[in-house]
Subunit: 209 residues, 8 copies
Amino acid sequence: MSKKPYIRLDKDNAAVLLVDHQTGLLSLVRDIDPDKFKNNVLALADMAEYFKLPTILTTSFENGPNGPLVPELKEKFPDAPYIARPGQINAWDNEDFVKAVKATGKKQLIVAGVVTEVCVAFPVLAALEEGFEVFVIADASGTFNAMTQQAAWSRMEQAGAQLMTWFGAACELHRDWRNDIEGLGTLFSNHIPDYRNLINSFNTLTAGK
Amino acid sequence: MSKKPYIRLDKDNAAVLLVDHQTGLLSLVRDIDPDKFKNNVLALADMAEYFKLPTILTTSFENGPNGPLVPELKEKFPDAPYIARPGQINAWDNEDFVKAVKATGKKQLIVAGVVTEVCVAFPVLAALEEGFEVFVIADASGTFNAMTQQAAWSRMEQAGAQLMTWFGAACELHRDWRNDIEGLGTLFSNHIPDYRNLINSFNTLTAGK
Amino acid sequence: MSKKPYIRLDKDNAAVLLVDHQTGLLSLVRDIDPDKFKNNVLALADMAEYFKLPTILTTSFENGPNGPLVPELKEKFPDAPYIARPGQINAWDNEDFVKAVKATGKKQLIVAGVVTEVCVAFPVLAALEEGFEVFVIADASGTFNAMTQQAAWSRMEQAGAQLMTWFGAACELHRDWRNDIEGLGTLFSNHIPDYRNLINSFNTLTAGK
Amino acid sequence: MSKKPYIRLDKDNAAVLLVDHQTGLLSLVRDIDPDKFKNNVLALADMAEYFKLPTILTTSFENGPNGPLVPELKEKFPDAPYIARPGQINAWDNEDFVKAVKATGKKQLIVAGVVTEVCVAFPVLAALEEGFEVFVIADASGTFNAMTQQAAWSRMEQAGAQLMTWFGAACELHRDWRNDIEGLGTLFSNHIPDYRNLINSFNTLTAGK
Amino acid sequence: MSKKPYIRLDKDNAAVLLVDHQTGLLSLVRDIDPDKFKNNVLALADMAEYFKLPTILTTSFENGPNGPLVPELKEKFPDAPYIARPGQINAWDNEDFVKAVKATGKKQLIVAGVVTEVCVAFPVLAALEEGFEVFVIADASGTFNAMTQQAAWSRMEQAGAQLMTWFGAACELHRDWRNDIEGLGTLFSNHIPDYRNLINSFNTLTAGK
Amino acid sequence: MSKKPYIRLDKDNAAVLLVDHQTGLLSLVRDIDPDKFKNNVLALADMAEYFKLPTILTTSFENGPNGPLVPELKEKFPDAPYIARPGQINAWDNEDFVKAVKATGKKQLIVAGVVTEVCVAFPVLAALEEGFEVFVIADASGTFNAMTQQAAWSRMEQAGAQLMTWFGAACELHRDWRNDIEGLGTLFSNHIPDYRNLINSFNTLTAGK
Amino acid sequence: MSKKPYIRLDKDNAAVLLVDHQTGLLSLVRDIDPDKFKNNVLALADMAEYFKLPTILTTSFENGPNGPLVPELKEKFPDAPYIARPGQINAWDNEDFVKAVKATGKKQLIVAGVVTEVCVAFPVLAALEEGFEVFVIADASGTFNAMTQQAAWSRMEQAGAQLMTWFGAACELHRDWRNDIEGLGTLFSNHIPDYRNLINSFNTLTAGK
Amino acid sequence: MSKKPYIRLDKDNAAVLLVDHQTGLLSLVRDIDPDKFKNNVLALADMAEYFKLPTILTTSFENGPNGPLVPELKEKFPDAPYIARPGQINAWDNEDFVKAVKATGKKQLIVAGVVTEVCVAFPVLAALEEGFEVFVIADASGTFNAMTQQAAWSRMEQAGAQLMTWFGAACELHRDWRNDIEGLGTLFSNHIPDYRNLINSFNTLTAGK
């Protein structure tokens, strides 16, 4: 049990780390359906952009079989620090990456990547060791199978990471719908088909009012 | 491991919080079958009524796509505090809600809602932070999918919440069948088909005795 | 492939056979969740009543461990032929049952029961043999496990039975919403939580119109 | 076993029927993940457009709880026949719908809709009865649960319908990549994340060649 | 669709073939839980004994890695024809086996074995070819995994075999409880825990009557 | 993380509590297959007998719908303390039960029962509170469904209980095969079909040696 | 039901078609685990080699994102006809492919490939149309997900294809162990871990005999 | 929560313990597919060899039904300490085994074996008790079923063990691809089919560059 029960995401104190979402590595992800996974990763990116969270991109060996970063992420964050690691498996072993993280001045790290037990878990554990508050976006992270996923989750939980999903993180960052109803509604409508349907039904019914 | 192994539900010291069981939001729930989920939510409501536990209702944006509170809950608790939140996502960020909770004078909170990782987890974590003993009714709370559910459970467990189901909570509150055999039996018969069958078989066989 | 592709349920030519939904036998049903199964059986009963289809009840050894017919079915069809079979496992081997079926004058039989591969499949196969058109309500029939269910479905399909669910049957019997919007809507609202939610959201939004 | 083993989709002889993909009804679909289902329906629509297949839209009670047609479909086929049925549950019972189908002059019908055992199965069976060759796009059709889906598939198979998915249909319609490599590649890249990754990896590696 | 819808098991016209339930081969069975499978095989054996059906045992290479026949089957049928095949994979390719089958004079064959797609399917197809009516006891037959099981079932169904389980077969052979209530009840009590519980509850409640 | 990593079962310091394995309550168990569950409960009983562990039986309302204790347990432990609780849901609330537990003089409790989150979890938590070392036999305990099981496991783990299965417990109690090869082998052969097969293959091959 | 129940594989009359097992396309396969799928494809290849069946290789667009044929297949069949199709999606639309098939002079075709509903189903249906007897090796064929797999199987079954697995096909081709015990044993030992374990246990125990 | 969040595998301070991967015991493993399990165990062995980690082999009763160590492990580590335990179930109860472990001079233990809750968990808990840092290779350890696996994982986690998979361990040991790209790539290519495909696609495309 953590000492402080509620460590809460704060949009003024959080940065996003997107680790190794590369076109080759994605073929290894089998603990989550590809349509769903693509949607979750893009939703997380849209969330980072919406809340203007400093975002850091990194890749592993992108000129080899692992393949390039998925183009959508590159295009969304053209000015973000982009660390193409020359060989370090744990991004936290790369000085430039850690410098970029620390340069954000944030104490909360929102992390997602491929594959969960390596590209996510290793920097997560290292960041916890250095005192960061770490939030893993479980549904924008993927790996080989359910057994691997569960072992990775267990290791990160034991070390004090908090497991969340992109939707939960967005809600915790936003705090109050009145801060911007349309903005948050659009984010949800674009990435949650059931919510989009609710909005479309509602808009149709109230259109003539 | 919690310091005190057995924190036990006490019917004289517990309140029930029903968070955002709204007709629109329910279409998002896919980690539990709709027939089963409806039954569990109504069973929890019947349990709250049966044990005369102070119960608090709250909704999020009920005039928008999220839809109104399910009518059965409104009807069962006509005099309960009902906080239609104007925008706060975490019910605990709403002063009226927290006041209502504290006005019950209870130290144990039984919480269920939709969706688990937001509408349930956020006030659960906040209540733990303030020293309440919190019991999550897992089977009357729902969310998008199993992965989200598991991440939400993990976060609440780490913070010290206890995961229960409505049946377990009812048993722990009742303590002894002799307090009211018929009342508890009726609650179970109405919401557990297998138990209802046992009772019907039994009654038929002993009818002539 | 059947010769005639579309053999269509006709409310003027259909009868319903409910076979052995008994309180003891129900404890054997494990291919479908009990909350869902109870709902489906009651929905089928409501459907039969709504369309005023002649309905026949039968039980096997109801004074022994199999237990009595579930009381809800008895109460809903107080005047229906009720054949408590003295020993025949296949209801079609019981003369009174077959007489009751033929007395309805209908050529289409809608059948559900417990357990699928015996209490449903045996009379279904016998009725097909005699030239009836048979529709099995799969989701109001239950058995030990998925393997048994699949084998039973396969045997009935090969013999020419059509597999349906209570909702599909209700839609095919009704043909056109304009025959009675409120009646069919109520049937669905009572037994499909998602549909009930849609109706409640709709009614709330259009209430002031 | 059908007499002619290979009844093959022919782009010059096929029409597409999209039945009741409405915002309310979609909340009933639980046999396929919402992200995946949305993608499949839009992929089927893109396929129809790409191959310039005559497409017919129909809805059931769109001013009630079933909700409006999903806007993306309306927008993609602004000139398609659009039959808002006043009450007929089986679209084939609606004269305008059948007229529109026959007006295409095609003998092959590609059908998808919500829910599978009603809105899809009923017109599929009726069309088979009239001698059409019918191809059900299984993954752009949805229903309550796996049991319902399997029963619906069984009924349609027995009547002679062929079960396909949007990808299989697209491949059978296209016949030869050389007819238009880029067009088909774009369709796949937009709706199959794994294929998109293959293309992105390939393009990156061959960019400098 | 078979021409005659209801080909019904007849205890005066049926023989049982138990094919290759050997201690080594059983380690290959993974489409059904070992506790359940053991119970089903023994239940089928008890059924054969109870109905005094002629039973034939056969093994494949029992002195090699496939291992000996499970001892319980040997002990239960000490006088049954026992064909230890010297090499034929399809038992029907062994003349002694076919002779033994034909010597029973029965036209209905009840078959189970390990593994389903080979040791069961091959003789099943051969027997159908020769005009026997064949009933596969699906839950007393096992194989590598679900995919293999489904392919094997499909092949046998297409050829006209009927898929059943030991319980369904026992019910169809018995026809009427009154032929011997205690005998059938004991068979069920020994192999269906849920039924045993029903009987024990019943006996306790009616003991004093 | 517990302070002492390895709290090890000791056959000289352990007692077994079997809570509410009653014929009626067993119909509620759906998180584990009935054949497997029956086998596990009897295996645990055989283990208790084999290691001569003091064993305590208790039931809840055995004259009502819950039904009598399963007869096999009664017969195996004719001289064990047997507490038919008059109404206490938590066995630990019954003085006679606690006295019987303490009279064993053991500090380690091996607990199993039906249903897991109530009949098992409540006395487990209470015993932990009093300083006992508690080992839950997960596979001889059953409940309504997987969600309930997981919530119950979580609550007991958080309080410091150790989750085991009957096989693991038997191995930890036995320590060394040489203490009695035949005895332990027989226990495993009787309750693990795969192990029985290994033994039978082995014995056949080495018979002539 | 097919007219002739048992169409049996004959090693003197069968050819093997391996369709589009390419390194890129394999990343689309998600209805079967990658370790298992790789093993099955190589097992099928070893089977073809062992029985000296004429084998034909074909690929689709191997210079594009689909990637090259997996190297193991190329190496195993260096002299096999190898048709790199310039664009035809259905291999049967390629004249060279059909010529190569007909040049074998065989009437039975054993087919596997990626993805099932296209690269396998299309030539399977075309070959059936021309009167070949077609055996689909289901476990060496892969596709996007279970729903797609089931629809593809259904379409091929309806057209008269037989679904098998590599192990079943090998057994049916071999007919009698005595034809070559060591050869078949080696094939199984190399691709069935459970069988390899049986053989290793057996060899160890009988080594000294 | 452990005190030190990141306890990291260090190739200069780690030893590998392979416990009871015996041909007989492997037939008990049913929580992971046999093809996958075989691959994982061999991958772990290759990893140990690649990183030159001291490796210790042990077996339980290898002359009895448990069977011999799988030959591949014997052959890969001909000079490794090999402790054939005469009877101790917990390898840590065997003095020679503990001596061998301590003789390595390593503080980190990487453990895998069959079955998880006994042969793995017992020495893991004992080693933690003595202050070792323990990493369980979850996917190279197997047991009876998922329930047993989960209980075993829970017990080891509570005691402070870290759950990993062979791939995660290899990545953490290697630290930086530049230490040896080809060596690590070969390890992955041999045991991860998806990765092998990426490499083959890559090599083909860049071959002519």
